[in-house]
Symmetry: C2
């Protein structure tokens, strides 16, 4: 998925919000915007939005002296999601179709995102997501490949959403490798965030070796690239993983809520839709 | 009201939407965005958003060879508003407080704006605006000054909204001068748009002499500046007139819906609020 012109104003908004989240003063916020605009002028026509987002958020981190603008927001998201964990597990225990429910919950958790828009109501999203129709639902293929796979490679998205991923991993009942970012980018989960959400109890946590949004394979470590190539089943969470891997062939299933109009248009669904989409076949 | 950093992404979005409205191809849209970013980098700290908007939308018009990107949208807005005119006049005929209702309708019409966000439901807005409380309501002072004034200088905002202004002018029952833009800017009303909305039947239509958004007095014609200085009562419609005239002393009343969060914050009201606010006193 290439960067559309609609992404330009969105990146400026993200840069401003990230600078503010990091406590930057107005002068520093202005510097961030100016540098972001300079960077946007250089965007190659084929760059995906996560490649551009990587540049933009790197500028913010440079200007705020290498900190993590979303540290507190990530901690709060994880805390909130963990507080819902017992209630969600009760729902699963009572469900006739726990895998379907766990997939829906994992998608609902994808609303925890500081990229597209900041405001969301988590519980409302959960209630809506467990009953609404999928815009794309490749669940038959997913169940078939899950039954055969020895383990699942699970590509994480945001902190807090991690707790919902944990629930899906528990429900899939297969060994899992949970791949997170090598360093802070937006509110994406790092090893630390995955640990805080209790993922180490249900999966082996690995780093992709990259701190760019999504999974830009040629920026990932060779270890991770090997993991990716060998995997029998890959669950790729969220928009950025779709943006960076939608042209990749492999046993990939994208689980996401199409929050951004550009991505929704690319998928051919309405904004806000829930999606379980099989990746391109080899 | 000075330009805030939040306005930067909004201006980029406006530039893109204006270029698209004008039918510019993607390459041209890209040029518009690049030029808009160059312009935003030069924004002086004290510039009001309409001063910046003037630069941004001038770039769009230059790139599309001087046309009016919003010509068709303005015509459609006027047509839609005119179709509601008889129904609104019936409501006024049955009202116990027609002036209050006409003020509310004039504010409801302010939702017809391509600047802050494109989507709106006109009839829904009307129904809501006729019953919701004002966030600021200086109507006592307004009625007092209206009773004394020989005539009203009415500063127009957008095409389509013009029809709602016409209704307020008819209800105020005073001679009126209706001031419009000298040329196309966003969906602001020009002489042609005011004529199409039937304003010539109820007011003398004049041009401010400027095609910048709002009313930037030192860019207006000397004739208009004299009119402004001599007026006993000025009705200033919409956000851009508030942004450019809020520091001006005079018998001004701002009628607007605070659609943009930056303006709402400046006014100390919630986004979406309706406002009848007296200007600064001499």
């Amino acid at each position: 998925l290439k960067t559309y012109l609609d992404c330009y104003p969105c990146f400026l908004r993200q840069a401003l919000e990230a600078a503010r989240s990091a406590g930057a003063d107005e002068e520093k916020q202005h510097v961030v915007l100016i540098r972001a605009m300079d960077a946007l002028k250089m965007v190659p026509a084929t760059a995906t939005p996560p490649v551009v987002g990587d540049v933009i958020h790197r500028i913010v981190r440079e200007e705020i002296d290498g900190g993590d603008p979303y540290k507190e927001i990530k901690e709060a998201s994880t805390h909130q999601a963990l507080s819902l964990y017992p209630r969600l597990k009760d729902m699963l225990a009572e469900s006739d179709s726990p895998l379907d429910l766990a997939i829906r919950l994992a998608i609902a958790g994808n609303v925890i995102d500081v990229g597209p828009e900041r405001r969301y109501d988590l519980w409302n999203t959960i209630e809506q997501t467990i009953s609404e129709p999928f815009a794309i639902n490749d669940d038959v293929a997913f169940r078939e490949m899950l039954a055969k796979a020895q383990y699942v490679l699970y590509l994480a998205d945001n902190a807090g959403e991690t707790v919902f991923d944990r629930i899906l991993i528990e429900t899939m009942a297969k060994p899992a490798i949970y791949a997170v970012k090598a360093g802070p980018i937006l509110n994406d989960a790092t090893v630390e965030d995955a640990m805080a959400a209790g993922l180490s109890a249900v999966a082996e946590i690995v780093s992709t070796g990259s701190d760019a949004p999504g999974t830009i394979l040629d920026r990932c470590s060779s270890d991770f690239q090997a993991l990716f190539r060998e995997a029998e089943l890959i669950v790729a969470k969220g928009q950025a993983n779709y943006e960076t891997l939608s042209d990749e062939c492999g046993p990939i299933f994208f689980l996401l809520k199409a929050k951004c109009p550009v991505i929704a248009r690319d998928l051919g669904v309405s904004t806000g839709s829930i999606v379980l989409k099989q990746g391109k076949q080899k």
